[in-house]
């Protein structure tokens, strides 16, 4: 990874020093705080973008993320040696996620689709037992008397609500969120990644880890895993999608522990 120039970083340090010197509530304090918000809005926008496409307008998410940014500015302790962006990122993401949780994102899936999703879960179980294998979309559509498109739509949205990977670069800047979190010289290579994976796997919930190992090491199908774990195939699908997204998100994070 190449050394990157970050003019904002020094300015941020300077501003926090000023903020500490200005009495809370004074015009100067407010002014410094405003500038800190302004130079970190691009970080908020970037993080908010990871959550778009879920029926929430991007502007709202930026506003919600900004709440996390403000809280971070007020709680940040520069003397602890952490970069501000490193400190603020989990707070901003946390605020946005809390918003989705509070609003009950799944409730925002149209009722029709929700009902179909539960019918699909039952249908897959029935057909899997009858056929001795996972059904095709055509078979399930015929069984439930709905179109194949509806099945595809419902199964895709059932596995949704997994955050985008954190280590994917933004097309405009080529920078990744992970870049914002680690020092430029701390670029991870795959060897480190491999070492990093072990504690991440260890940190997973027992069932998540079991599902992951069954699927990717023992090469079981989702239906077989569903059988072993005593849950539905739809549940396995969601669990795998979520766990993989979590893993991608956690790997870069290990670096500054």
């Amino acid at each position: 990874m190449t050394q990157r120039n970050r003019p904002g970083r020094d300015r941020t340090r300077q501003l926090f020093a000023e903020l500490a010197g200005a009495p809370p509530g004074s015009p100067r304090h407010q002014q410094v705080r405003d500038e800190l918000v302004e130079i970190h809005l691009s970080l908020v926008r970037y993080l908010a973008n990871r959550f778009t496409g879920r029926g929430e307008p991007a502007d709202d998410l930026v506003q919600i993320g900004t709440i996390g940014l403000l809280q971070s500015i007020d709680r940040f302790e520069p003397e602890r040696g952490l970069e501000f962006s490193t400190f603020a990122t989990p707070n901003i993401v946390g605020e946005i996620k809390r918003h989705f949780r509070d609003r009950g994102w799944m409730v925002r899936v149209p009722r029709r689709l929700q009902e179909l999703q539960s019918e699909i879960g039952v249908g897959i179980n029935d057909l899997t037992h009858r056929l001795g294998r996972s059904p095709t979309v055509a078979e399930l559509a015929g069984h439930l008397r709905v179109s194949q498109e509806q099945i595809l739509e419902a199964t895709e949205s059932a596995r949704a609500y997994s955050a985008l990977p954190i280590d994917v670069p933004h097309a405009g800047t080529g920078r990744t969120i992970a870049d914002g979190l680690v020092e430029p010289d701390a670029a991870m290579d795959h060897v480190e990644l491999r070492h990093a994976l072990r504690p991440v796997l260890a940190g997973l919930a027992e069932r998540d880890r079991q599902a992951l190992l069954l699927r990717f090491v023992e090469n079981k199908t989702q239906s077989e895993i569903a059988e072993v774990l005593g849950i539905s195939q739809v549940h396995v699908s969601r669990l795998l999608a979520r766990t993989l997204a979590e893993l991608r998100e956690q790997l870069p994070d290990l670096h500054h522990d």
């Binding site: 973008n49 990871r50 778009t52 496409g53 897959i124 001795g132 294998r133 996972s134 059904p135 095709t136 979309v137 055509a138 399930l140 194949q148 498109e149 099945i151 595809l152 199964t155 895709e156 596995r159 985008l164 990977p165 280590d167 994917v168 670069p169 933004h170 097309a171 405009g172 800047t173 080529g174 990744t176 795959h190 990644l193 491999r194 994976l197 699927r215 990717f216 090491v217 090469n219 199908t221 989702q222 239906s223 195939q233 699908s237 795998l240 999608a241 993989l244 893993l247 991608r248």
Partner: protein, 132 residues
């Protein structure tokens, strides 16, 4: 834009950004459904496309595109996902990485290919290799 031509090849080109992977998932799920893949296999393909994207996108440069070519074959599907143009020299695949393990578990073959202007992963999945 997707185009299905006389040979049954579907091509899709999107900006090289993670947000567009959903489009690739939708296309592959639809094509696999049309070819009578099971729901298990369709979900494998969706995850594989996600992982392929996660492997390739770090090699994109600003303005790069992610292109996917989907082709049906007798008993399966072949998809090539490519970043054009990639940033920097072509990387060696780390076959012991977790992402690689995931890809090989989900598909019947995985190949990393690259030449000057593109870096691509070619995945194939045969229908019903386990179940039928």
């Amino acid at each position: 834009m997707t185009v299905e031509n006389a040979t049954g090849t579907v091509a899709l080109t999107v900006p090289a950004e993670a947000g567009y992977l959903a489009l690739l998932r939708t296309v592959i799920a639809s094509l696999a459904a049309g070819r009578d893949f099971t729901l298990d296999e369709i979900d494998d393909l969706r995850i594989a496309v996600d992982e392929a994207g996660a492997l390739l996108l770090p090699h994109a440069r600003p303005g790069s595109q992610l292109s996917a070519n989907f082709a049906g074959s007798a008993g399966g599907l072949r998809v090539e996902v490519a970043v054009t143009p990639p940033a920097g020299p072509l990387p060696e695949p780390d076959r012991s990485s977790f992402a690689w393990l995931v890809l090989t578990a989900l598909t019947d073959s995985v190949e990393l290919a690259g030449s000057g202007g593109r870096l691509s992963l070619v995945l194939t999945k045969v229908r019903g290799t386990r179940d039928r």
